[in-house]
């Protein structure tokens, strides 16, 4: 079985608008499921907010606290304003990553598609640019200019800094997409090993045990990667926000 088959986009409900194909696909379905899961988590957790939180509320508070302290560390006191955005990005990436690991149900991982991750990265990039220009105006360009440098060196560094700034959404997107894709390919490859080795006629099942054990361990690793990559995405987003909010 082709390990790339799991990334195939299937049109569940063909749609088009203004000449653009906007069909409802399996990717959209799993984004919707992620959205529903987040909605349940959030609305149940904050239904009746209390001073002494219940389990659901404590869980939501834990994530919220995690995001706000990350913003506090990386952006400073100004960072709290962007907590909802970073929270939304973090939760969306995290839940998409985690739901994609569900076995049996034919789960699809939207974050294994570079289109989705680049969309998310450009949301962050756009917010960073808007915040930067709104707070500092054209002064925002001083982000790219090295302090205490002569013109020639300054221009050289300026070009490099602009290129590195413009490449940020792509690196952000490709990091997440590559991690997710690699993990899922690996799981699928070892899954085919289970079938291939387990169907050895003379001694059935026995040789399938080893790749199965590897797959169990890999699943645990992938769970870790799912969480870590969501964290890395949110962390880098807050670091980029820091540049826009505080310049140097």
């Amino acid at each position: 079985m082709n390990p790339m088959h799991q990334f195939e986009i299937v049109k569940l409900h063909p749609l088009a608008a203004g000449g653009y194909d906007i069909s409802f696909t399996n990717s959209a379905l799993w984004m919707a499921i992620a959205l529903g899961a987040i909605a349940i988590f959030m609305f149940v957790g904050t239904a009746k907010p209390q001073l002494v939180p219940g389990r659901w509320q404590a869980a939501v508070e834990y994530v919220y606290d995690f995001v706000t302290s990350m913003l506090d560390e990386n952006v400073g006191p100004e960072g709290k304003r962007y907590a909802p955005l970073i929270f939304a990005v973090f939760m969306f990436v995290l839940v998409c990553n985690l739901l994609g690991l569900l076995p049996w149900v034919g789960a699809f991982t939207p974050t294994s598609h570079v289109t989705v991750t680049i969309g998310l990265a450009f949301i962050v990039f756009t917010v960073v640019c808007v915040v930067g220009f709104m707070r500092h105006g054209l002064h925002f360009f001083s982000l790219f200019w090295p302090k205490d440098a002569n013109i020639a060196l300054g221009l050289f560094v300026f070009v490099i800094e602009v290129l590195s700034f413009l490449s940020r959404p792509f690196t952000l997107a490709i990091r997440l997409f590559a991690n997710m894709t690699a993990g899922h390919v690996l799981l699928k490859v070892f899954g085919t090993f289970v079938v291939a080795l387990g169907s050895f006629n003379a001694l059935p099942y026995v040789f399938g045990v080893l790749p199965l054990a590897v797959n169990v361990a890999l699943t645990a690793l992938e769970l870790l990667i799912a969480v870590v990559q969501a964290y890395v995405f949110a962390l880098l987003a807050s670091l980029y926000l820091n540049d826009a909010v505080n310049l140097h």
Binding site: I9, Y20, D21, I22, S23, A28, F43, D65, A83, T115
Partner: protein, 162 residues
């Protein structure tokens, strides 16, 4: 890789991603998170308030202890002063009594001494009379001659003065 088949993959995903993210941000996170943030701020404020109250209570307790200690010290000093005064008073009283008793006994001693001196003088006088009479009688017996009282008393006085 199906991910790079952008003609089939790009717009459908991007459209739904944009739609779902708008719903997620404005329809879920923006509605729920501020409520939670408010409660968390309230909680932080309450905890800070409680801590502040505890600190104030401790401060007032410390102040009370300090005042108690000062009061105790003051009353101790007062008691010490009272004791010293009482001691001084008692010493003065006993001194006065002692002086009076001394004076009394001195007077008694003087009176007794006077009486002794008186008695000694009287004894002396009567001894002289006896000596003169005895000497007259002895001389009369030996010489059958009655000596004059003046002569005998002169001789007795001379002998007693020795």
């Amino acid at each position: 890789m199906p991910q790079f088949d952008f003609t089939n993959v790009f717009w459908p995903q991007l459209f739904w991603l944009a739609l779902f993210f708008i719903v997620l941000y404005f329809g879920i996170v923006r509605l729920t998170l501020p409520r939670l943030g408010k409660v968390m701020d309230e909680r932080a404020a309450k905890i800070d308030g409680d801590l502040e109250a505890a600190r104030a209570a401790k401060e007032s307790a410390d102040e009370l202890t300090e005042r108690y200690r000062a009061e105790l010290e003051k009353s101790r000093d007062e008691a010490r002063g009272n004791i010293a005064a009482a001691k001084a008073e008692a010493a003065k009283a006993s001194e006065a009594r002692l002086a009076k008793a001394e004076a009394d006994s001195a007077a008694k001693i003087d009176a007794a001494e006077a009486r002794i001196a008186d008695a000694t003088a009287k004894a002396h006088e009567s001894l002289r009379g006896v000596a003169i009479e005895g000497a007259q009688a002895i001389i009369a017996k030996l010489t059958n001659n009655q000596p004059s009282t003046d002569a005998v008393s002169g001789a007795v006085d001379a002998a007693m003065a020795r």
